[in-house]
């Protein structure tokens, strides 16, 4: 009898712990909604699509921050994905055995560097380099595109996206590598036996088999990029404007909260910042749900039809 009751208690305790995680999320959402209420009442949906951010006149619109977060993360992903896949394919399939472990370790080390260090590197190395070398080059040869026009500040959307991409490369590449390593050798041999070259084998057997796992890696990387605060704040230029140019300074949701929270003196100002936090939460939630759905569709397609 004693054993049975212990089992029951264990089950209850585990259930409570599991539910408390869900409860915590609900509490978080509710309390944020409560504190954001003044701003929600005052601006309503205008908050989402106006670009004015004027603490003096107390007019707040979050569009530039939403734009900054989404675009910087999307650009980062665009740059990081091919590089990460290249790294993962090399480490899992092509590298000589003696190089695999040390290289994987070095790449994972990139993930362990604190983001403030990335930020410093961005300010002292990346931004000047972009300002003096990369941006003039892009302007000279691709200046006809609105993407590459405007002043060369160094700091701005481009440097933020580059820093973010460097920060998510270790995540995407190390998870993709793990996924590639789980591809059964029977898959590779099936391709080889058909007369596939090395590259064809990787494309046919490895990338095809691993694609839902790679998608998962991409989502984790994207999640990291969306929420990244410190490094981005240091290099994005912190100007709440929407510009078509990658050279122009921008602002993200996480950065504005970090920068202005301590100086938000009025209730409405504070409330507007909390509402931005609330939106950030929802943007990440929506992207995660969309990605989950995508993974689910891909793997369901693989499993049965």
């Amino acid at each position: 009898m004693k054993i049975k009751s212990a089992d029951l208690w264990f089950k209850k305790a585990a259930a409570i712990l599991a539910l408390s995680a869900a409860a915590l999320v609900i509490l978080l959402v509710c309390s944020m909604a409560y504190y954001a209420l003044p701003a929600i009442r005052k601006f309503g949906l205008h908050f989402l699509h106006t670009s004015t951010w004027d603490p003096v006149k107390e007019i707040f619109g979050a569009l530039p921050f939403i734009y900054g977060t989404v675009i910087s993360s999307a650009l980062a992903l665009l740059m990081a994905l091919p590089v990460s896949l290249g790294i993962a394919v090399y480490l899992a399939e092509l590298a000589p055995c003696c190089l695999r472990e040390p290289l994987s370790f070095l790449i994972e080390l990139l993930a362990a560097i604190p983001s403030v260090v990335y930020g410093l590197w961005g300010i002292f190395f990346l931004a000047p380099f972009l300002r003096e070398t990369v941006q003039p080059f892009l302007f000279r040869y691709f200046g006809f595109l609105p993407l590459f026009q405007g002043e060369f500040y160094g700091v701005g959307m481009l440097s933020a996206a580059i820093i973010l991409s460097i920060m998510i490369i270790p995540t995407i590449s190390s998870i993709s590598r793990e996924v590639f390593l789980t591809v059964p050798s029977a898959q590779r041999e099936a391709a080889l036996a058909l007369g596939a070259t090395r590259w064809e084998t990787i494309r046919l057997a490895v990338l095809g088999y691993a694609r839902s796992g790679v998608l998962g890696a991409v989502i984790l990387g994207l999640g990291r990029a969306l929420g990244e605060t410190m490094a981005v704040t240091m290099v994005i230029g912190n100007r709440p404007e929407i510009s078509g140019s990658l050279f122009a300074p921008a602002y993200t949701m996480a950065s504005v909260i970090a920068n202005e929270f301590s100086e938000a003196t009025t209730d409405l100002y504070l409330s507007a910042l909390i509402e931005i936090g609330f939106i950030l939460f929802f943007v990440t939630l929506i992207i995660n749900i969309a990605a989950r759905a995508l993974i689910w569709r891909v793997s369901a397609k693989i499993k049965a039809k």
């Binding site: 055995c97 029977a186 590779r188 041999e189 099936a190 036996a193 058909l194 088999y209 693989i302």
Partner: protein, 252 residues
Amino acid sequence: MEAEIKVSNLYAYFGSICALRGINISIKEKVVTAVIGPSGCGKSTFIRCINRLHEVVPEAKLSGEVLLGGKDIYSADADPILIRRKIGMVFQRPNPFPALSIYDNVAAGLKLNGIKRKNDLDGIVERSLKMSALWGEVKDKLNASGVSLSGGQQQRLCIARALAVAPEVILFDEPCSALDPISTGKIEELLFQLKKNYTIIIVTHNMQQAARVSDYTAFFLLGELVEFDKTQDIFTKPKDNRTEDYITGRFG
């Protein structure tokens, strides 16, 4: 009949372990040759030497000569990729590409060969699936995933995939070991059809299967070829005591 595959003095290694010790064998064209023997006797290694798949295993080495139609596939100017296109292989467990549809699985090898025209592909895919006796079951769902099929169907899909690239030789590495008896029967039926056009080598654990499907049988033990003869002779009057012990079930 001319010997299609002539193996002389073949030694194969995994690191320092010797898996095959001096194999000499001549395999005839358009017959089914079964390779039998207990686990670890080197029979899978042997057929993997014939399509140069042995060498893709890290630390694997080999020496000796394997002639295919008179040409040494291990000579310096032989390209393993072209050789593998001439020698199809069907594996122990069905291994269709999960990301590809039934159609694309069969067409995979053709696309590698640069055949891209829809009409050509359609014709070859249909013919290959008919030859592997799968067409009737899948003709209405060619766009479904290859792994949505049952195990036996998947194995026939893999056979169709191997047939599509028009090989001269097809290697079967215990193709029925993961299948139920009905699927096994279908695959064996298929082997009878295929040997009209292809040289077939089948590794099998199952001696009844070897007796049913093959014309010639090779018995391997501890990395050596103990005996090679007409299947009938191997099973009725083996010359070597070890062969007799094995086929009568005294070990293995």
